[in-house]
Symmetry: C2
Subunit: 229 residues, 2 copies
């Protein structure tokens, strides 16, 4: 029981989801958790600000240790609970190299997805340009084709860094899931689609599935941002 751990999170958040998957994989169930409402600006409330001056979610605490950055929290958990639950860093040299490469490429993937999906959130009205929207979508399409290509070169049923599930999956799967929920076509990107389907059945993913997605699992949540991609 991970009752010395606290997670403040919000639904709709890729970074929060990463940490929740890692906690499940490391068998750290039973942590204290509070679901906050981003739209009500609860991420700016004092319970967050006291632990996280950036006013961001996730906010994560283990004993007296605070690791709010999602990549940092997942790596910290793997390091602290190495022999518990899933081993998330593979032993093999090649798999390890591929894991580190893919997990950080995953940040670029998430940035490019955010540039499309959150454009109106990030860019004030007077500074928006159709040319930027078009370019962002183009960049995201190139990015997604790159990932489809990575899977094309691997055996069917592979995880992101090879035969074994790893930190790369913990950190990048939520971005892939959000892409499909934003209208990405599994027909056009069949390898990514197969990976998405495989991962959806993983217990750590099932347990942490965003609550607002439960009602209608197949309908794009974000509108059809990525439909034509």
């Amino acid at each position: 029981m991970a009752n010395n751990m606290t997670l403040l999170w919000c639904t709709f958040s890729v970074p929060c989801w990463r940490v929740m998957i890692a906690l499940e994989e490391k068998m750290l169930q039973g942590y204290n958790q509070t679901l906050l409402d981003f739209d009500k600006e609860e991420h700016k409330s004092t319970i967050v600000m006291d632990l996280n001056p950036r006013a961001q979610l996730p906010t994560f605490k283990h004993g007296d240790c605070i690791v709010n950055e999602s990549y940092g929290a997942c790596m910290y958990l793997e390091n602290q609970f190495r022999s518990q639950g899933t081993q998330m860093i593979p032993e093999g040299l090649a798999e390890q190299a591929l894991m580190y490469q893919r997990m950080f490429e995953g940040q670029t993937f998430y940035e490019k997805l955010s540039d499309v999906v959150y454009y109106e959130y990030y860019v004030p009205q007077g500074e928006r340009h159709d040319s930027a929207i078009k370019r962002n979508k183009g960049n995201l399409a190139i990015e997604i084709k790159l990932w489809e290509g990575y899977f094309q070169k691997m055996e069917a049923g592979s995880y992101l860094a090879g035969k074994a599930f790893s930190l790369a999956d913990v950190l990048v799967f939520p971005t892939i899931a959000y892409s499909f929920r934003s209208g990405l076509s599994a027909e056009r990107y069949p390898k990514l689609g197969a990976y998405y389907s495989m991962m959806k059945d993983r217990p750590s993913v099932k347990t942490t599935w965003p609550p607002h997605w439960q009602e209608d699992q197949e309908k794009p949540q974000w509108g059809d941002f990525l439909k034509e991609l």
Copy 2:
């Protein structure tokens, strides 16, 4: 001798500098290296593209393993050469948590610095706005104050994650160095300035100091982008 390692890099690059510092810290001198000219678009040449479809520098290879993402390469090197050179992941729980927190916050720092310094490079002419330039500078100022504050709460002479040098320093110091080289005032940010001075004397930093900075160490390289910050 690290003669089974290859690094393709360019000067002026924070991500390249991270990997070069890590290689020095892990006593991996003697690697094959090629300095490419970004302005001549040599990062799009076939020697890069063959290893790195993103056409980015650094491009790093160890034997048959390719890890081009700078954070990934540094973590891979620490993992593969754990008992060689500097131990870059501290033992203590609190130091380790702080290291993971700061190293990933460092990505935000670098993003905000890039938003200011590379604005004209990233944003096409017709899409530029004075309001965005002003906002980016404001965001960077907030960010830098945050880091100054982190050092204020630590003992004099501390590294980013405490008493010991760690991966956080490898990954974030180049961003801090670029900030000062872009005109940041060490008078206004004395704790960051003291850290910058301390790190400048570290052998791994001295050896890898950007070659184009050698001639006039004190003159801001990038112009005075950050002078008024």
